[in-house]
Amino acid sequence: MKRNVPLLVAIIAGFVMIVAYFIPYSESWGEIVLVWFDIIASIAFILGGGNLLKIQLKKISERGPGWGYAVITAASFLIMLTIGLLKVGVPPHESYMHMPWSGSYNAPGSPFLWLYEYAFKPLQATIFAMLAFYVASAAFRAFRAKNVEAFLLLGTAFIILLGRTAAGPYLTNWFPDSVAGLRAQPLSEYLMQVFNTAGSRAIMIGIALGTASVSLKILLGIDRSYLGSGDE
């Protein structure tokens, strides 16, 4: 019950997807299973939110170090959730103005969209933008052209960066036409189209084979690690 049923569920669900691809009659089965998958994935967001709240409330009740930040996290989570789920400040749809819940949850001018535009989006973009500094700083500390491999990695990154910025043409456009291919922009394009394509293609073939073999191992019940080790 605890291990065999989940194993059976995984095998049946996986093979339905495979069969749906090969047999046109069963295509709709695959579509239904995919919708179910989306539904359970959306419920997983609820699980994630619930878990986040559980951890934050535990931190707050224990008054451990940094519990004030847990209050901020829990409050922002609950505010976003309440405003979004209850469609606070959302006007009804223009064609169904007698139905207050008919408007879109992210309608223009709604508080939910405000939080998305002025809290979620700038914070996400800035956190990702900060990676530019970390990547550059890590590269500065770690990149040393000690051997051919390191030199190739460093050189390619340098050429790509040059080719994609205004500095590239500025520094290399004086190259004579006979060696125009060595200018930063065409050189970076050639590296991308030929060498990068070759490497990426091999990596993708490797990933595809790896994914297929792992999937088969799971679907055939050889790999059962996802079921955990104990009873709980």
Partner: protein, 382 residues
């Protein structure tokens, strides 16, 4: 007071002083948002023509919509006539234009469009600006401002994805399938009234509830069923898509001629034809070399990935060439990642200096003065 705290205090005081200077001395302020407020009268009319197969449902339309259906709106009771107010973003330049002599704001007729200062959007810009700065403070080191921004981000993003999942997946794909009439009357008026209860969808609902059981202190094994379903579907889907889309298509794309012939061009740039009218082709060294590199690159990289044979002798040398190709690939990926992040950073700086501080104006949204004097308002000279 610790040195670190002193540094932060000084930074904040200097920052506040600069903002104060900018605010008090600049002629038109900064960090303000404006909106265009429009009004439209809408009429509730019974609609049967748009949805001939469905039950008639009252719809609200504007005057043009009512005329299109030959409906006389003067017969409607007052409760079926409403004014809908909509707001859309506009710029300071548009606002100044509207406020000017003969501008849109001088039209005081009821229902006329108006350009107004928006407090909520202005607060939003300031909030976003401070959040951006708070995150950037992490470059100096971990500090309370960064932690506040981080905490807000975690909470807001978790809430955001839950709400999106609920309204875009659970309501239309689950609840609307199980209880169509209730959902139609509540939040999805466009839903067909001919939809029947699809009880099959109780299965994902039950699996979802089982998944939530993970939050309970006991009975965690119950969530294995939905987890197994997710893993099974994912494996089945990936097995097919990766083999079809990546494995087969990449091999197909990799099988290319190593001896490339291209059409020969005449002096005037036109394609040459022989006496029989066939296109004259000739060997292209550079295209052939390109294809050789592509094929050799893929094969040598695959040899490197093949660990069933020890990488010695010819295999070892081939694998080493494969490593070189992979290093170039990783270098290109690194360059692209850095470029992407720098582009994001540039967008954040543009937000700070354009939308918030109004020090630059690439889109000419708030510049009323000449571009050369854009920097002057910062010092109170604008």
């Amino acid at each position: 007071m610790k040195n670190n705290s002193m540094v932060w205090l000084i930074v904040m005081i200097v920052g506040a002083a600069l903002l104060g200077l900018r605010w008090t001395l600049a002629s038109h302020g900064f960090g303000k948002a404006y909106v265009k407020v429009s009004q439209e009268t809408r009429y509730r009319i019974p609609s049967t023509k748009d949805y001939p197969t469905d039950e008639p449902i009252d719809r609200w339309v504007n005057k043009a919509g009512a005329d299109k259906q030959n409906f006389d709106v003067t017969t409607l009771p007052p409760a079926s006539v409403q004014t809908r107010v909509t707001t859309e973003d506009t710029t300071y330049a548009e606002y100044v234009k509207a406020e000017g002599q003969g501008g849109a704001n001088s039209n005081t007729a009821p229902g006329a469009d108006r350009y107004e200062f928006s407090l909520s959007r202005t607060v939003g810009i300031w909030f976003a600006a401070f959040m951006t700065l708070f995150v950037m403070t992490f470059l100096v080191g971990d500090n309370p401002m960064y932690k506040v921004a981080e905490s807000i981000f975690i909470g807001v993003s978790a809430g955001y994805w839950m709400v999106v999942g609920f309204w875009t997946t659970l309501v239309p794909n689950l609840f609307a399938k199980i209880w169509p009439s209730i959902i139609r009357d509540w939040a999805m008026p466009g839903l067909s009234s001919y939809g029947t209860h699809e009880w099959l969808y109780l299965i994902p609902l039950i699996l979802g509830i089982m998944l939530l059981w993970r939050l309970a202190p006991k009975g965690g094994w119950i969530s294995r069923w939905p987890m197994a379903f997710i893993i099974g579907v994912f494996c089945g889907l990936r097995l097919i898509t990766f083999l079809a889309a990546d494995f087969v298509s990449q091999i197909r794309s990799g099988i290319i001629p190593l001896w490339v012939k291209v059409p020969q061009l005449a002096a005037d740039g036109t394609v040459l034809h022989d006496a029989a009218g066939n296109v004259v082709t000739g060997f292209s060294f550079w295209d052939s070399l390109r294809n050789v590199f592509l094929v050799v690159g893929v094969l040598t990289c695959l040899v490197y990935f093949f660990f069933s044979i020890e990488h010695k002798g010819v295999v070892g040398k081939t694998a080493r060439v494969g490593i070189w190709f992979l290093m170039i690939t990783f270098g290109a990926a690194f360059g692209y990642t850095v470029m992407g992040r720098i582009a994001l950073l540039a967008i954040r700086f543009e937000f700070l200096f354009d939308d918030w501080l109004w020090l630059i104006d690439p889109k000419m949204h708030h510049t009323i003065v000449a571009p050369t004097s854009m920097i002057l308002p910062f010092f109170g000279l604008g």
